[in-house]
Symmetry: C3
């Protein structure tokens, strides 16, 4: 069978090199000169692949893996089958991730779709746009008046950049992205279908229906932000909407007007953040969670998936539930309700007997 | 008033033909030679239309319908107005659906947008792409290097297919779809705005922020899958993301990396499925439900809408709630809580008196 | 620093003109001839800006604002710093919104992306389409056979309008919008990525999988509707899907087949409305709420965010929760559960002591 993977293997690395890049220790009996060229999960990795073991529930796969080498923690060494080459790592997932990045540099950033270099003759470029040499604008992309684009940036087919937006260097603007009223920093990755800078949702009741509240703010997306497919971020009403440096946002997230998200946050898919909310640095929000408008989530807070945040969340706390509360309280309530319902049923059953 | 419907009526079928195709029985006093040409709900169907009755709550509409013929179950015959032509069916909805498919074959699959045949001169096609005769590529579609597209497939305007993707025969790739790292089977329908194959959401904490976990897997979409507008499906990290044969996915669903969905599943709008989760065959998941990562939902399980699945769900079971549990347990808890709250209020009221 | 805002200031208005347009009263000691040119929040407004004060929690910002003039309610006058020019309004938010609309007329409607006038030679227009003079069709838009487009309407780059759709006058069709089987009224605004008119989600179990229920209805979007980015609205199955006059829909909302939404409703982001549901006039639905199929929400009802509506909701009522119930009942249950869990903990603690 031909190789049908989308990411080619390169020349590979020796086990010793892998260990040294990942800050791991070459295990006893493991040949540091063996060469590996790829990565895979325990049950699918072959002799050329590096794999990893991070939970005893995968012990059966560890026992039978054909992987050429396995990252493992010191505390799990007893589970290692005799003779399996291994690398001992303090943080197995981080070590494995680093190895993946070494093997597949082409997977670090989305590619251009076409083999165009520079500006495709089939892109529509306003003559007042300023595009640095070394930027790529693919077919059917549209660049409006006054737009600035930095070198190393790729604008994919069908992306539409409205007037006066600025895009930094080495960005990836995916297919069918629409940007307006937006400034992007450097190394920002926008996956296909992201829409940034359209009107926030603001109306007031008027004599004959709903009157629009004009939205005159901007969206500022700082360096090294990555935003998932079909996510939407509205521009500010009378402030700016801000996404802080290094923050990662998953697919189909909605960010309302005037929201300020801090640095190095992780926002999982389908989260919705209502207008004028402030989120600190290093915050994690689980999938499908909703955050009310005008609340503040402190630095380092973690919010469970499928929660509803309707009040301020203190820094470094862990909250969850609908409405969200400290996780301990939330778990207690859920457990208590289950126990009560169970007792209720027993009582009723006794009565019925 | 001119006909403003988007799907034209054809020559029609006789009531006898309709009955025979739908496996229904021509009712007493019903003329099997009458010709019908369309379908409609009881309150809007005219003498040329076939309609259906499947619940006593629509008895008022049945009493006054002007439909030319009505599918009805044996058990509801007593509700039938005198003289209304009818067809007796075991499964009224399936019989009516079959009739709809007979009358409106053009509605079975999305159309091309333009009247282009073959490859539009305004599409951007890499010279290394392999496109079978009989495929249609519309204006402003982009086909990358090494892409394969089967005959009978339509790629709509603005769709972008990245390098080395393969698309089978008789597929419909809607407007503004983006595919990368993806193989599609035959007769796959992707509605507008679907994004498949972009990076899964994986990061590990590094010394200066979040480091990317490379995503080197693929997305495999098997035959006869249909996927709704603006749905997003990420490619696998070190496995593949798989959507099984015949599965139907609604609009704005999010499917994370490494997810495996079985055959003939029904996934309703706005569902989110987190990474590395496995879903069996014939599973139904109601709208807006969230499914945690790394869980397994067994064959034939049904999950209620607006639920949160955080643990494995046994085959053929029915679960619901936040967090999801067997529906019986879930309903009991909700009922119990309502009763308790009611009692609590009474007690307080008595105290206050 | 150069002005990096996307919306330019005009010649401005005098404080007296602002008051008269907004129906406000010029405050004591406030110069009616002072000229203002913009708007801003209290903490960022400068001497040329009008601002507003609507809640005592912003009293610190009011105390230190540099704004040229502030809208304020009679009841808050005591909080006003000495000498701050002000306008007294009955409805501060409406007065401020009106002022914003006066200052920034260009922000009332999305712009064209390019400077194209009329029909771009790089748009793909079917010869049978009827486009009124004064409509703008931008590059890479696609207009199918039989489509009608009214004057003053802008179709943005990459938008795709399928056969026989009709679009009224002065509409804004955003980038990457896809329309099929749809009629739009006048002054309809569709933000980027909106998809309207694709197949509703209907299947019946057949002998070898799921059989399609043909979707032959239309989508009717009435005058003055605004629809947010990446929202999806399916066409009717055997009825029409209808969005009533003046209704405002936020980003990433999903509207199923046959849904009828009334006039002047407000539907916040990520709401999902299942098939065949009917929503009255003036209904407000908070973000992420799910509405079951085949239910009715009465005129003027308000549904809280992150709720699940599974039964009919009476007109003018306020409901919330999962499942949704009258808000009073919902709050009582939540409070009751918290209290019980608290007592349960105390009891357990006592036992443990």
């Amino acid at each position: 069978m031909p190789d049908t993977s989308f990411f080619a293997r390169g020349a590979g690395l020796t086990v010793g090199e892998i260990a040294s890049r990942a800050g791991a220790e070459v295990g006893e009996g493991t040949d540091p000169n063996a060469v590996l060229t790829g990565i895979g999960p325990l049950d699918r990795a072959g002799p050329d692949d590096c794999s990893f073991f991070d939970s005893p529930r995968y012990a059966p796969q560890l026992a039978t893996t054909r992987a050429g080498c396995v990252f493992i923690a010191q505390k799990h060494l007893a589970l290692l089958p005799e003779g399996l080459p291994h690398l001992i790592a303090g943080n197995v997932q981080a070590a494995f991730a680093k190895t993946g990045r070494s093997f597949y540099p082409a997977a670090l950033l989305p590619d251009a779709i076409t083999t165009t270099e520079g500006i495709s003759p089939r892109a529509e470029i306003d003559p007042t746009a300023q595009i640095e040499d070394g930027a790529t604008i693919e077919a059917f992309a549209v660049i409006g008046p006054g737009v600035k684009i930095g070198r190393g940036t790729i604008v994919s087919p069908g992306a539409v950049i409205a007037r006066d937006c600025a895009i930094g260097r080495d960005c990836r603007i995916g297919a069918q992205v629409a940007l307006s009223n937006t400034f992007l920093g450097n190394r920002v990755v926008l996956h296909p279908g992201v829409k940034i800078g359209q009107d926030g949702f603001g109306y007031v009741a008027g004599p004959s229906g709903l009157d629009k509240v004009v939205q005159i703010g901007r969206v500022i997306v700082q360096d090294d932000v990555e935003i998932g497919a079909n996510t939407t971020i509205d521009r500010g009403a009378i402030r700016d909407t801000v996404i802080g440096e290094g923050t990662k946002i998953d697919n189909q997230v909605q960010v309302g007007h005037n929201v300020a998200i801090g640095r190095h946050c992780v926002i999982v898919a389908q989260v919705g953040i209502s207008g004028s909310t402030t989120i600190g640095d290093g915050v994690m929000i689980g999938g499908q969670t909703g955050v009310n408008g005008h609340v503040t989530i402190g630095d380092g807070a973690q919010i469970a998936a499928v929660s509803a945040v309707s009040a301020d969340v203190p820094a470094k706390s862990r909250w969850g539930g609908i409405p969200a509360k400290p996780v301990r309280e939330w778990f207690r309530e859920m457990r208590f309700l289950s126990e009560l319902a169970m007792k209720g049923r027993s009582a009723r059953n006794e009565r019925d007997e």
